[in-house]
């Protein structure tokens, strides 16, 4: 019953902001490892790593969101996410904890949250004075070219 009224999220740090992603989509969290670059792949595509004998793509979440990519530290992790049969990794600055967030404290995202385009976001949760930005895992990989176009437009307008 309670699960209907709250969501379990993996909370991680990205560019000094706190983000959360639905735990259901997270397969595992691994330490940084050597990433093989793919020539000709998009900029946010960091490369591929091996996982359970297969290879999966890894994206730099910062760059995916159009933020400046931080330094890799000993705290950096790769969160392995599975969405619709696609498994991929996303690099985050640090993974903090798993939280249960009451649905009541989740609010729709404000038009602009932490510089991240809202289409990636599911909502924002305010929990004991902490602001957690909840990602929509379905939209991390596939949004549309539109997204990129908007980004481009913005840059041109600067």
């Amino acid at each position: 019953m309670s699960s209907q009224n709250e969501e379990q999220v993996v909370v991680f740090q990205l560019n000094d902001q706190t983000y959360g992603i639905d735990i259901v989509s997270v397969r595992e969290i691994i330490r940084m490892e050597e990433i093989t670059k793919i020539p000709g792949a998009p900029d946010f595509m960091e490369g591929i790593i091996k996982l359970r004998g297969g290879v999966i793509p890894v994206i730099d979440l910062c760059r995916r969101f159009g933020l400046i990519s931080g330094e890799r530290t000993s705290q950096s992790r790769i969160i392995i996410v599975q969405v619709n049969n696609t498994t991929f990794g996303m690099i985050v600055d640090a993974v903090q904890e798993v939280l249960r967030i009451p649905s009541s404290s989740i609010e729709p995202p404000p038009p602009m949250a932490g510089g991240v385009n809202v289409s990636y976001l599911k909502g924002v949760a305010l929990l004991e004075e902490r602001l957690i930005i909840l990602l929509d895992h379905n939209k991390i990989l596939y949004d549309s070219e539109q997204e990129e176009l908007q980004q481009l437009e913005k840059e041109l307008n600067k």
Binding site: T36, K37, P39, I48, G53, G54, V55, P57, T86
Partner: protein
């Protein structure tokens, strides 16, 4: 109604039987009198009829029923095999294949009326003119169809019945077990059964019936039923009374003696062995074998009885020879039996061992053994006498069953999703990496602590782990393999049809069907092979008259062969036809404007022959509907190269042509040349690497905007991989160059360093990345790093475009 598993089993069996029919029809065409072949087809058709009927595929059952009838007539010598008939039968086979697709949902609403007409056309005259043959046919069909009514399948009477029988016998009544079989096409079976009951009740008292009386009244029984009657009348009287009922085909009566039955009820109702079987046993005894009658009873509610029966058969075959089975082996295979069956086994093993071995099979409830010796007359003369009346058809049947044993040799298999095997393979890959890491740790320990016992142990464990993972990897690879028979089996029929159409006579020889290769390869290779074979028949082999004129044997030879060659499979298709004339190809090339006369004449024979692989190039004098349209050989080559294979041809004018196809055993593992570029490792599949060179930066020349190098007087475009991929590199004065080739095109690729050859397991880059230009996948190296696999063909293509530009 039926589970996917059951349908799967049915389809497997169907496929196997269709193949049997196909193969035997081909033989039959050449040997129309071969009884074995006729029997094989008959049995296969019968099996399909049985199982498709059970599964409710009416059309299939009806079609096979007709095929069966036709063959029955042929067997009895009422019809002779004609080419026309074979054609009809092949057509029927095609229809069956369509019906099979209907089961899988690949096709719908297959119409069988046309083919049914054609089949009845084949036997039409016979059916009308000879009533007797129709009747004989009915009888034969009835005998086959209702084993339940046969003497072999008598019900074991239970204690209650026996008690009543005993009482009645004390009261001076006789007890008979009566098996009634109705004619095959009986309408209103329930009414007939009712009539039979009426008559029996007039003569005495029916105390037991199987199936139960109420089921009989509803007509829910096959063709036969069995009752126990208490009466004062003689067997003859009962028999004739029952035979008077219309549509009663057969009545078998056996007196019941409670003493005997009691023994049987406690134990097993042993079959009476007929003379044929006894003869075989006698011979075997001379050779030092002991014969046993083995009765196997399965657990109640056993799933897939046929599989259990098959396992029991397998097991028994390992211990000796099964010479008879009741019900017959094919019925067992279809699962057409109750819970028990009985076989006669010739073996040198002792009784306990047989018993224990069979008991170890899952879901076997009970096994009973009884030694049979021909020295003492088996089974009590009295019984044999009574059974004499019915023994004759039984003998015929069991002789057939004895012969059938080899046919039970279906492959023992489970169906596994390939995805599961892939996952297993991935996990093994993980293990291999861990093994490598373990080795490294062992080394570190050795450095730190010297080689003491513990370090030794670690080394030992690491080595063992290495061996086991290696074996594991190999076994899983093998599990993905299928015999090439899967596609080869399709060809004899195709060759026959094609040859017939073109009026050619061809002796088609297939070798190496058992050669195994990866199922992915099998899927790809089918069409190219079909094409090459058709080409050979169409263009290669001459018409019979021409061959005779040339002093060649009238019948052309077409030889298809598969064999292993190192880590490759080599498939050759050779014909003894007219060969390919290089001069004609040169001429054609000029006509098509591919070369001018001079440069065409300078082409070597080999180069000229290569022309046939060019798109739009055909030398056939006229285009037939089979081949010669010039789309084909290039497709063949592309398909084969796609799976890292090669195709070559050797030809001699007037003597014949041989196509040789080399294929990798598997698509999952390739030999590669490993190179580095910057920090990363890349793999070039060896099948595309023609050589490696070390050149000086000064050797690079420029043609227009492009860099080239000259290797043995041949100009090769030079491509810097670092530029192509936009990656960092550490190129110096000395450059390492990998020359890659595909279809006569060569490109020299500059890399940083050559690491050597290695076998790598190909991993897809995954859906999300999709196709990355220039890359065909990735692989995991021994140290856990990921290396990218270069797609040589796309690189060559790109370079080719630059060159032309």
């Amino acid at each position: 109604m039926f589970s996917d598993i059951e349908i799967g089993v049915f389809l497997d069996e169907l496929e196997e039987k269709l193949q049997v029919i196909n193969d035997n029809l081909l033989i039959l065409e050449n040997e129309p009198d071969n009884q074995d072949v006729l029997n094989e087809i008959f049995r296969a058709a019968h099996t399909i009829k049985g199982s498709s009927g059970v599964m409710g595929y009416e059309k299939m059952a009806s079609l096979t029923h007709n095929i069966e009838n036709l063959f029955d007539m042929i067997r009895q010598g009422k019809l002779t095999v004609t080419t026309e008939m074979i054609n009809v039968l092949f057509e029927a086979l095609d229809t069956l294949n369509l019906l099979k697709k209907e089961v899988t949902g690949e096709s719908v609403d297959v119409d069988i009326s046309d083919i049914l007409n054609k089949i009845s056309g084949c036997m039409g005259g016979e059916l009308c003119s000879a009533d007797s043959s129709a009747k004989a046919q009915n009888e034969a069909a009835a005998a086959v169809e209702s084993p339940a009514a046969g003497s072999e399948r008598r019900q074991v009477l239970d204690d209650n019945v026996l008690a009543v029988v005993r009482e009645a016998q004390a009261g001076g009544l006789k007890a008979y077990q009566i098996a009634v079989t109705l004619a095959e096409d009986t309408q209103m079976k329930s009414v007939r059964a009712f009539l039979v009951f009426e008559i029996l009740q007039q003569m005495g008292e029916v105390i037991s019936s199987n199936p139960p009386a109420d089921e009989l009244q509803q007509g829910s029984f096959d063709l036969g039923f069995e009752v126990v009657l208490l009466t004062k009348e003689s067997t003859e009287k009962v028999q004739s009374a029952l035979m008077n009922v219309a549509e009663v085909d057969k009545v078998e009566i056996r007196p019941v003696t409670p003493a005997e039955e009691a023994e049987n009820a406690a134990g097993h109702q042993w079959q009476i062995l007929d003379d044929n079987v006894l003869n075989v046993i006698r011979e075997a005894e001379v050779r030092g074998f002991q014969a046993y009658q083995v009765a196997v009873i399965l657990d109640e509610g056993t799933q897939m009885k046929s599989v259990r029966a098959f396992l029991v058969f397998e097991t028994l075959q390992q211990m000796g020879e099964v010479i008879k089975s009741t019900p017959p082996a094919e019925e067992l295979q279809e699962g057409n039996f109750d819970r028990g069956f009985e076989v006669v086994l010739l073996t040198q093993e002792d009784q306990d061992k047989i018993q224990n071995t069979i008991m170890s099979i899952a879901e076997v409830n009970r096994v009973e053994l009884r030694p049979v010796s021909t020295l003492q007359t088996p089974n009590g003369q009295a019984k044999t006498k009574v059974g004499a009346k019915t023994a004759a058809p039984a003998a015929k049947k069991s002789a057939g069953a004895g012969k059938e044993q080899p046919a039970v040799k279906t492959a023992k298999t489970v169906r596994v999703d390939v995805q599961k095997l892939d996952n297993l393979m991935n996990l093994v890959g993980e293990l291999v990496i861990d093994r490598t890491r373990l080795n490294r740790f062992a080394e570190i320990f050795e450095d730190k602590y010297g080689s003491d016992e513990l370090v030794e142990s670690i080394n030992e464990i690491a080595n063992h782990l290495g061996q086991v993972t290696g074996d594991l990897q190999e076994q899983i690879m093998k599990a993905r393999m299928l015999p090439i028979a899967q596609i080869f089996n399709r060809f004899p029929r195709m060759v026959r049809d094609t040859a017939q159409k073109l009026g050619k006579e061809i002796d088609f020889i297939v070798e190496g069907k058992e050669t195994e290769l990866d199922r992915n390869v099998i899927e790809v290779i089918g069409d190219p092979l079909i094409h090459l074979i058709r080409n050979s028949i169409d263009h290669g082999i001459e018409p019979p008259e021409e061959r005779e004129r040339l002093g060649k044997p009238r019948v052309g030879k077409l030889h298809l062969k598969a064999s292993y060659h190192e880590s490759h499979i080599v498939i050759t298709i050779s014909d003894d036809g007219r060969g390919i004339d290089a001069d004609k190809l040169r001429q054609k090339a000029v006509e098509k404007g591919l070369y001018d006369r001079e440069s065409a004449s300078r082409l070597t024979d080999r180069e000229a022959l290569e022309l046939i692989f060019k798109a739009g190039f055909s030398t056939a004098k006229e285009v037939s509907d089979l081949s010669g349209r010039g789309v084909g050989m290039d497709v063949v080559r592309t398909a084969i190269e796609q799976i890292n294979g090669m195709v070559e041809l050797h030809t001699e004018v007037g003597v014949g042509t041989t196509f040789t196809i080399r294929l990798p055993l598997t698509l999952a593992i390739i030999r590669s040349l490993m190179v580095t570029l910057g920090e990363q490792v890349y793999a070039f599949p060896l099948s595309n690497v023609s050589e490696t060179l070390r050149i000086n930066a000064g050797e690079i020349r420029r043609v227009g905007n492009n860099e080239v190098i000259v290797v043995r007087e041949r100009i090769l475009p030079l491509l810097r991989l670092s530029e192509r991929f936009g990656m960092g590199s550490s190129e110096g004065e000395n450059l390492f160059v990998v020359v890659i080739a595909s279809a006569e095109k060569r490109v020299a690729v500059v890399v940083d360093k050559l690491l050597g050859e290695q076998e790598i397991v190909i991993k897809s880059l995954g859906e999300y990345l999709g196709e990355v230009p220039g890359l065909s996948g990735a692989t995991i190296l021994g140290d856990g790093r990921v290396a990218l696999i270069i797609d040589s063909r796309s690189i060559i293509k790109d370079a080719g475009m630059c060159e032309e530009a």
